[in-house]
């Protein structure tokens, strides 16, 4: 297994090739998932942002199908883990077994040793097993018996889950939720899409006919290109404002982490690149605020009693937060820049 450090991504792709490659992936997935362009693009954006994707919805709306379609569209190693209540951490990370021939322990890699890991029904496994994902998702490495094994690039966990109100589910720990870049909901297809689905899926599963349109090398190049997308200071400030707002919102017990800020900007870069821009707009952040932030935060008991979902709270924050005033500063102006949006310095909220 060729170990590759995370920073060794491919070279840059020119604008046209980037567009062609990304459009090809999206179009490929859309053969399976009809009428969900935005969701598909978001899933791709998470891949290009070097993040992990959590697809949460009720059963039967195509979560696993989206995950598998994305995996099959890219010609790379794909592993699938079915999270069941009796799954063990070693099933995920791998285990050292005693080799009779060599009289030595030998490492059997687990399911995470792949470019794309599809974790199905992730919240049906116990938190103990889910915790096995913590290291690999954030640090892209696995440590078993004191030996650390690097994972490959690209590495992406695509997990599906049912809402936690469903039977037989465990809630994901906050630490693990925070490692998922975005949580997307599939939603029911509209009637036209459902009709097309009936036509297309009636006889055969289109997933089987799906061909890979890209490979790991191209994805690495795509990732490298996304990293070059320009983010103006004003946009960074806006991202910070957004995250700070979640930390200060009275409805929230736990706000978004600095990791969330980082991933918000990365995803925004990817979305901007997918739209053919080489700069990030506040619009991207506004569109991504709910998918990227909503699953990390915990509402207060009052807000829960009032049946306010985190999605609603975050989108309300977005609609209330003014854009930072982002006139370009005079280079000779040595005054310190105005901090934040004029509010009191942030004081961490005790969860």
């Amino acid at each position: 297994m060729t170990q590759q450090t995370w920073d060794e991504v491919g070279g840059l792709l020119p604008h046209d090739e980037f567009r062609a490659a990304s459009e090809a992936i999206v179009a490929n997935i859309e053969q399976v998932i009809e009428g969900k362009t935005a969701t598909v693009r978001l899933a791709l954006a998470v891949l290009l942002a070097e993040g992990h994707l959590l697809i949460e919805d009720v059963p039967g709306v195509g979560k696993t199908k989206l995950a598998k379609a994305l995996a099959r569209s890219i010609d790379c190693t794909v592993r699938r883990i079915q999270f069941t209540p009796d799954l063990l951490p070693s099933d995920v990370t791998g285990v050292s077994v005693y080799n009779q021939e060599t009289h030595d322990f030998e490492f059997r890699p687990g399911a995470v040793f792949a470019n794309l890991v599809v974790g199905d029904e992730i919240n049906r496994a116990s938190p103990k097993t889910q915790s096995a994902l913590l290291e690999c998702m954030e640090e892209r490495q696995v440590t078993v018996d004191g030996v650390t094994y690097q994972l490959q690039t690209p590495f992406m966990v695509i997990a599906t889950q049912n809402p936690i109100e469903m039977e037989g589910t465990y809630p994901l720990p906050e630490a693990q939720r925070d490692r998922f870049t975005a949580r997307i909901a599939m939603g029911y297809p509209d009637s036209n899409a459902e009709l097309a689905m009936l036509d297309g899926h009636g006889a055969t599963d289109p997933l089987h006919e799906l061909r890979a349109v890209s490979d790991a090398a191209i994805v690495r190049q795509l990732i490298a290109t996304v990293r070059q997308v320009h983010v103006a200071d004003a946009v960074k400030q806006y991202a910070i404002d957004l995250v700070t707002a979640t930390r200060e919102a009275p409805d929230l017990r736990l706000g978004a982490s600095p990791r969330a800020t980082l991933q918000l900007l990365r995803t925004a870069r990817a979305v901007a690149a997918l739209e053919g821009r080489d700069y990030v707009l506040p619009d991207d952040l506004q569109a991504l605020a709910v998918p990227v932030l909503a699953h990390r935060i915990i509402p207060t008991a009052d807000a829960q009693l009032a049946r306010r979902t985190t999605d609603a709270i975050v989108s309300e924050l977005v609609h209330r937060l003014p854009l930072p005033h982002d006139r370009q500063r005079n280079p000779y102006d040595t005054r310190p820049p105005a901090t934040g949006n004029g509010r009191a310095p942030y004081e961490p909220r005790r969860p």
Binding site: H230, A232, A234, V235, R277, D278, Y279, V280, L281, P282, D283, Q286, V318, H319, R320, L321, P322, L323, D326, R327, Q328
Partner: protein, 823 residues
Amino acid sequence: MISSRNIGMVAAAATLLAAAPLSAIFQGWTWLIESIIAVAVVAGVAALTRLARAPLWGQVLGMLAGLMLALTWLFPSGQELFAILPTPGTFAYFGDLLAGSMQDMRSYGVEVPDTDPLLFIAVLGVGAVAVLVDVLAVGLRRPALAGLPMLAIYSVPVAVYVDSVPAVPFVVGAAGYLWLLVTDNVDRVRRFGRRFTGDGRDVDVWEASPLASAGRRLAAVGVALAVMLPLAVPGMTGGLLDSLSQGPGNGTGNGSGSGGTSGRIDLFASLAGQLNQSQVADLVKVKTSEQSPFYLRYAVADELRPTGFQARNPSGRSVNKDLPNPADRAGPGVQQATYQATVEVTKSLSMSLMPVYAEPTRADDLSDNWLYDANQQVVFSNRENSRGRKYSFDYVRSTFTQDALRAAKPLPTEHPVRRQMTATPGPVSEVEELVKGLIQGKRTDYDKVLAIYRHFSADNGFSYRLSTESGSSGQDIVNFLTNKVGYCQQYAAAMAWLVRSAGIPARVAFGFTNGSKRDGDTFTLTNLNLHAWTEVYFDGAGWVPFDATPAYGVPGSTRSAWAPDTDAPEAPSPNSSATSTPTDPGASTGPEGPDNSDRDTDDGLSLGGTTPNEQPPVWPWWAAGLVALLVLLAVPALRRMALRRRRSGRAASVAMASATVDGGSEPGARPVVVTADANRARADAHAAWAELLDTLVDFRVPVDPTETPRATADRLVRDALDDDDAIGSARLLGRAEERARYARDPLTGERLLPALRAVRAALATRADRRTRLLAAVLPPSVLLRWRTTMADRSSRMVALTGQARYRLLRWNPRRLLADRAAR
């Protein structure tokens, strides 16, 4: 229990503070000590009765009994049991004191001495107010009502002082009242239990209640209203004294004395103010049986201070009592005749003095409130004023021969009149030298006076002019003696000063000349006839008037035999008065007598030289005001136009600059140009976007600060625009701003100005007429920005004051006390 005791004590203290205005009435402070005793007794009894849980009526009875005991002890009649228990004899004595107080109130002017009757009524009043305040504030818990009895105390000096009442005692009383209110409300708020702020924080013990700031604000508004409202109401000014107090000198004695002088008028200042007025108002109509009367007097300034001559507070007894008869001064060479005069004061003259001829012997139609000062020979009142009064009186006119005056012996040095009326505030060397030169070789007092009197003649270069500076202090006298130009004020004061320097009693009298409007035996006197002259005291003859002012300057000027006009072409025979009959008492009218009296007023005016009679036309002011108003109204529109021009200038330059970039084919120079161009393009896009936002505000399209340029443009396209050109323009503007803000390279080469125009035109066609008009005349964007700036400033100021207040609060005594208590 503790709190009500606390309020009771505060009520007592507030009563005492509210009694502060009485200090303006009494000379001494005995009243205060006795009031403190009475109020303390009342408060103590109240506290005791409340301790015994007596009902309210019991408290009242107890307090009244306590007050009675205190009064009995303070004003003993000698018949009490154990010095404090009243007997019927005590009450009879109290009745006597009350009657006596009525008597004293009439006979004494302010400030009154400490007589027992007056002290009794003062202490009784303060004690009664203390009872009332205690009942209202503690018993009924209506401390606001307690202000009424407190105000009753304040009304006493208001009734006594006609013109103005000292402000400081009122402030003291008001502070006491506020203290009472604050104490009650603090107690009331504490009864709610724990105090807290809006953000859920507990309020420390030392902190003021959060409600207090609202209260303070209300109080400030109330005080401001109370001060401003009377200023806005017309008709409360216009009397003589009011207008005088705005005259050149301040009406309150230049602050040289303590509280006692505050009620006085600066007679000189009032005189100058009246003489300099451009409007002529009839002040007095006088009808007399005398053929050619001397001046009508109303006041005397006989106290010479470093600041000049000032009026002493007159004192005397009622005019309706027997007035001193000057007949006892009759002697050889002194002729006396009795005349009758009727004076009618118009509404324009309002003062506490009443003009009379010297010296009145009997007065009719005047109430007991009018008193006569035999020494100053003036009629005055501490309660009423002269406005609109009509009265008649008998008076004795004394005329003297020069020989009779010459025969008068100099007063002995220890004579009270001489001691008082020759006092000068320190020797002024010029005056001393002048007087020494003038009286050299003169043996009698009269000759000395006459020499001084003659010094002020035209031969010596003295002339009359109204426009000199007023004043009668030592420095002003020297100036006048050097410049030799002045009017009656300086002549009278200077002569009196010189005569005093010669050791002869002298004072300055104020009154009216005979004026220029004579109809038979009726004289109509105006403010221009106000006059001042000198009076010199001769033993046996009394006060003898001398008018040193040049006769040509004074309409209706009158000269007497003993003081002939020094400027007359031919001096009258010194003995002419000896042969004159009583009906013609030696008073000869001046060279400009009643014949050419019509001209006199004009003369006086032209001599004054500063007061043209014609009113300037008013319309230029209206026109100027209208123009100013229009300019003011046009300011927002002009500001908007200037903004638009500046931004258009930027937007227009972008096309030019990008053209140069496109034209520049040399590759080496290009990067530099491009950076400059990028910055400029960015600025231009920002300018265009700012202009677009302002336009939106102007046309009342909502602007959301949370929206990105792209979202704003999309919303515009969706909601406000239907023209393809405008839609494209709006998107272009949004894209340009978006690129300028967030992209590496801004959009260049686009024509933003036409796009802006297109959007504006599209918005204008959609807007209704009123919105269009407002956008052109009073652009909401400019107004909004100004309003925001103002709000920002004020909030910043509030924040700063809040910080400062918090810092100050660290040294709040309440906090320090609370800390100490906690420790």
